[in-house]
Structure formats: structure tokens, C-alpha cells
């Protein structure tokens, strides 16, 4: 399995995905506009509050916007390329996973190549908020242009962390089949929580979001260095190492889960 092989395959997938969406231009535009609306409504919620009351526990509106944007972009990255990892439950209940097991590629990659989900709405919204918040902080002299490469790097490591959490959650499905509810906890709730500075939460919840479900490392922890210059640049590399460790652990878990796969009875 060479890298080129996968890049080619993904290129074909993305091309056909775009082409099939474009067949129904109205639907594509509608979907994009509506997705962006949702994202903006979500951000409006917090920005209205912060605008009215000012900073929250020492975090400015720009900084919260930054956390929000990094989370959105990292999640977009994860969900674009591993859309169907999140939807493993459907493959388990309908037995569609059988079909993937007949393909001459590793199951996980077969699963990931089932669906490329283009998320222009999220990309647009995340990009816009990131631009707005970084622009604000650069003009006020809080950060320099150097923050940009760090931010892009952190979005990628964040995507990897979210993917690892998503994969580990999906793997539990090999035992309990129904995982939607578990996903609400480990993915939706956890991701929502770390869109805000972790200082808002009591200690037990903070450690939960850093140790048990390490979503805190997607945006919050790196922002301590990137936005506030705390700790040092080693923090970012440490997070990259952590992302790799998470990935390895969840891949191991996934492999183990697969051996428990029973298909849908006889």
C-alpha cells in the first residue's frame, strides 16, 4: 500500500463526490448555505453573550473565537475523510461491513473510502472565524504571523485526535452494536465542551476532557502556547506526539474489535 495509491484513490473519490453533488446544483447550494447558517447561528450564540458581558474568566472574545474555529476545522478534517467511521453503526446493523471485508484493502481504509463528505459550509464558517479572530489578535499585537503555521499544524493534529476518539468509540460497536448514544457523549458533548476555555469547568470535568477523552488537546492546550505564549513551542510538538499515540492505541483497539465481528447472524 503505497502513499501514491491512496492519494490516487482519494482523488477519484473526491472527484466523483463533487460530480455527484453537482448533478443536483440546487441541493448542493441549499445544503452548503444551510450548513453555514447552522454554524453561524451556533457562533452567534456565544459571541452575543461575550459581546454583552465581555471576557469570560480572562478569555477574550477573539480567543474564544479562535478555540471555536480550530475545533470546527479539526472536526471538518476528521469528518470529511472518515465520514463513515462515525457511521459504523449503520454498517453493523445492516451487515454492510461484509461487503467491505471482501475488498483487497484494510477494512478501515475501505470504510473511509466509502464516503467523502464535502463540508464547504463548515470550512467557510471555520475559516471566516479563524481569520476574524487571528486578525483581531494580530492587530492588537497579541500574536504575530508566526501563529498561523502553528495553527494549521494544530488543526491537523486535532483532526487526528478527533479521529482517534471517533474510531475508538466506533470500535465499541463491535460489542454493543448501538453506539449513537455513546457518540453523543464522547464526540458531540466533548467537542462542544472544548469550544470554550476549559477554565470554565470544575476540575473533575477538566481532567475528564484532558485524560479520558483527550479533546482538550485539540484547541485549548495548544492555544495556551500559540495565543498566550505559555509553556513553549515544545507544547505543540508534544501534542503531535500525543496525537500519534492516540492514533496507535485506537488502531490497535480497532484491530482487536474486528476479530470480534460476528456479521449479522447467519
Amino acid at each position: 500500500m503505497t502513499i501514491k495509491y491512496w492519494l490516487d484513490l482519494y482523488a477519484v473519490l473526491i472527484r466523483s463526490s463533487i460530480r455527484s453533488r453537482m448533478q443536483y446544483k440546487f441541493n448542493f447550494i441549499l445544503g452548503t448555505v444551510l450548513a453555514a447558517t447552522i454554524q453561524i447561528a451556533e457562533f452567534l450564540m456565544i459571541s452575543i453573550v461575550l459581546n454583552k458581558f465581555g471576557a469570560v474568566k480572562g478569555w477574550s472574545l477573539y480567543e474564544v473565537g479562535y478555540l471555536f474555529a480550530v475545533m470546527t476545522l479539526a472536526k471538518t478534517l476528521y469528518r470529511t475523510f472518515a465520514s463513515d467511521v462515525h457511521h459504523l453503526e449503520r454498517y453493523l446493523t445492516t451487515g454492510e461491513l461484509d461487503q467491505l471485508l471482501t475488498r483487497p484493502v484494510p477494512i478501515l481504509l475501505a470504510l473511509m473510502s466509502q464516503n467523502i463528505r464535502l463540508m464547504p459550509g463548515e470550512l467557510l464558517q471555520g475559516g471566516a472565524i479563524l481569520y476574524w479572530s487571528m486578525h483581531g489578535m494580530i492587530s492588537s499585537g497579541q500574536i504575530t504571523w508566526l501563529a498561523l503555521p502553528y495553527t494549521l499544524f494544530v488543526i491537523v493534529t486535532g483532526g487526528v485526535i478527533l479521529f482517534s476518539i471517533g474510531l475508538a468509540t466506533a470500535t465499541v460497536g463491535f460489542w454493543i452494536t448501538r453506539i449513537n448514544e455513546l457518540q453523543t457523549l464522547t464526540e458531540d458533548a466533548a467537542q462542544t465542551a472544548v469550544r470554550y476555555p476549559l477554565v470554565l469547568y470544575p476540575a473533575w470535568l477538566r481532567s475528564l476532557l484532558l485524560i479520558v477523552i483527550p479533546v482538550g488537546f485539540v484547541g485549548y492546550v495548544p492555544s495556551l502556547f500559540i495565543l498566550r505564549g505559555e509553556y513553549g513551542s515544545w507544547l505543540v510538538y508534544g501534542i503531535a506526539l500525543l496525537a500519534v499515540i492516540c492514533l496507535v492505541i485506537s488502531l490497535r483497539f480497532w484491530k482487536f474489535g474486528l476479530t470480534r465481528y460476528q456479521s449479522t447472524g447467519s
Binding site: 495509491y5 490516487d8 484513490l9 477519484v12 473519490l13 466523483s16 463526490s17 460530480r19 455527484s20 448533478q23 445492516t94 451487515g95 454492510e96 461484509d98 461487503q99 471485508l101 471482501t102 475488498r103 483487497p104 484493502v105 484494510p106 475501505a110 473510502s113 466509502q114 454493543i176 476479530t259 465481528y261 460476528q262 456479521s263 447472524g265 447467519s266
Partner: protein
Amino acid sequence: MKNTLPMIEVSGLHKQFRTPVVKEGRFAGIRTLFTREYRMKEAVKDISFSIQKGDFVGYIGPNGAGKSTTIKMLTGILHPSSGEVKINGINPHKHRRQVAKRLGVVFGQRSQLWWDLPVKDSYDILAHMYKVAPDEKEKRQGEMGELLDLKEFWLTPVRKLSLGQRMRADIAASMLHDPDVLFLDEPTIGLDVTAKRSIRGFLKKLNSEFGKTILLTTHDMDDIEQLCERVMVINHGQLSYEGTIENLRDKIGLPTLIRVTFHGTYQLPAPQDQCLPVELGLDAERTFQIVDAGSHEVHIEANRQQVKAMDILRMVSGWGEVADIHMEEPDFEDVIHRVY
């Protein structure tokens, strides 16, 4: 064409399933989450067989007999509890990807194509996945397109295809990487007569002209009768028959129905001197019976394995002037019903 190395070799295959016991009562949902109680179910028990290159074998059995489980073990989807599978000498559970490259698998109940994409795009993706060279892909796509008439819905998204079209597209997709072995799990399920016929014609061609080894499971006995040289019958997880269709028919020994029409009147021999079976030294009860006698017509049931048709003819012509004789072979579905 045929050589002696078996294409598919299965020995001592077992599969047990663990099914969780559903609990009743208060907080049942929570309790099932945390405790484990299982019932063991043996889906496949000690199955062994081998299939040669170029064979076309039917694999039949009633619902829940273990057909799909066997197929899933052959294709590497499920791991057997014990026993071994070898496809062209390679174990699909140890080298799943290597074996998958040489396999084509079609499940009638679900599609391997991308639901929202046009048929053509699915083929592009599959070609990449199986590393089929572009010129080779074009060639095979053209061949299959011709044989299965895919052109008319080439650019239609799969979800908009009719069942028959989808099946054709699916089978062609499984041939894209030129596999040696084809597993078909109920490929004609839910199809109309025309669609069935077109698929059967294609499968026949794949076997006879392209030399593919094919294992087919189906509930449609016409599929089996028209396509397969050999059948394997599975019931309660065990093979209950393996051999040619003719042998199966003979083994069950369903009687052939013979209708004899006479010109004018005829004279039946008196029961006590029903000479023929005695002449042949056979048990009259099992082999030969007059079931109905009308004014011009006699219905006879005979087991053809024990009584030759010519003997019956000779005897019948002694009764009167024969106008017409009609023989009805036992219905294959009835034969299978006996095996189950």
C-alpha cells in the same frame, strides 16, 4: 482446461455464534449493557468439500441452514471457529487482502456500488482499489457492458436503478478485476423472469467461456437446474448431499409420471397378473403403479431408476393401441423439498 489443483478447498469447517441472551424485566436494558450471558449456536458443523477450477457449483439449503455463514467464511468475512479454508491454496483468514484480489463477491441483497454515484464512477473507484490498469479496465468494462447491456444506465446513480439493472451492474463490477473465483449469494432474488434469464445467460458465459469458478447460493431451483453441474445441499449446518443434479434426483427417486392415451378401448391386466415387475424381479409397490385409469387414458407412476422407459412402453403397447405417451419428469423443487 481443468487441472487437479482444487480452486476452493474446505476441511472440517465449524462456526459457532454467541448470541446475547435478551433479558426481561426492570432495567433490562442497563443490565444487558453490563453483564454477559450468551447462548451458543452452531451455524456450521464440520463441512468439507473441494471445488475444481472451472466448476459451477450450486450451494442450496433452507433459510437459516448456514449457507450465508459458509460463504462469509469462504470469502474471509467471518473467521471459522475451527477448520480451514483455502482459496487457490491461500488461506483467506490469514491473507485476506491477497485472497480478496482474486475473488469476486456479489450479495443479491445489497450492493457493492456507491449508492449516490453513477455506475461509471463506482467502477472507477473499484478499478483504483483493485489496481486495475486503465487500458485493462476499459477493455473489461467494454466487454461486460456489451454482455450485460449496461450502456443505457451508465451514468445513472445506483439508487435510481431497477433491481435487475442494479444486479447486472453489481455482477459486472465484481468482474472488473478479473477474479478467478466468483461467489454469488442469491443473485436472482426478487428479479423478474427476463432479468433472471439475462443474468443466468451471463453467468453461464462467465463459466464456460471465461473459465471462472463459480459458487452460487440461491432459493431458485431453476437457477440450479440451468446452471450448475454440481450441487451441495446444506441443512442444519451440515452437508446432506454433494454430487450431480441427476444423481440427486435418482437418489431421492421421485417417480416419473407417465400418461398413456389409447385409440379406442384398452385392456388392463388383472391385478394378480401384473406381470412386468415380477418379470423384472422388482418390488411392485415401489417401482410401478397405476394411479388413474379413465376411458382412454391411463396414468402410471414409475421410478425410472429401476424400470427402463422402454420396458414400460413395451408393456403398455400390449394393453391396446397407443395414441400418445407423455412423460413428466419429477419437478426439481419437489426433489429438493425431499432433501431438506
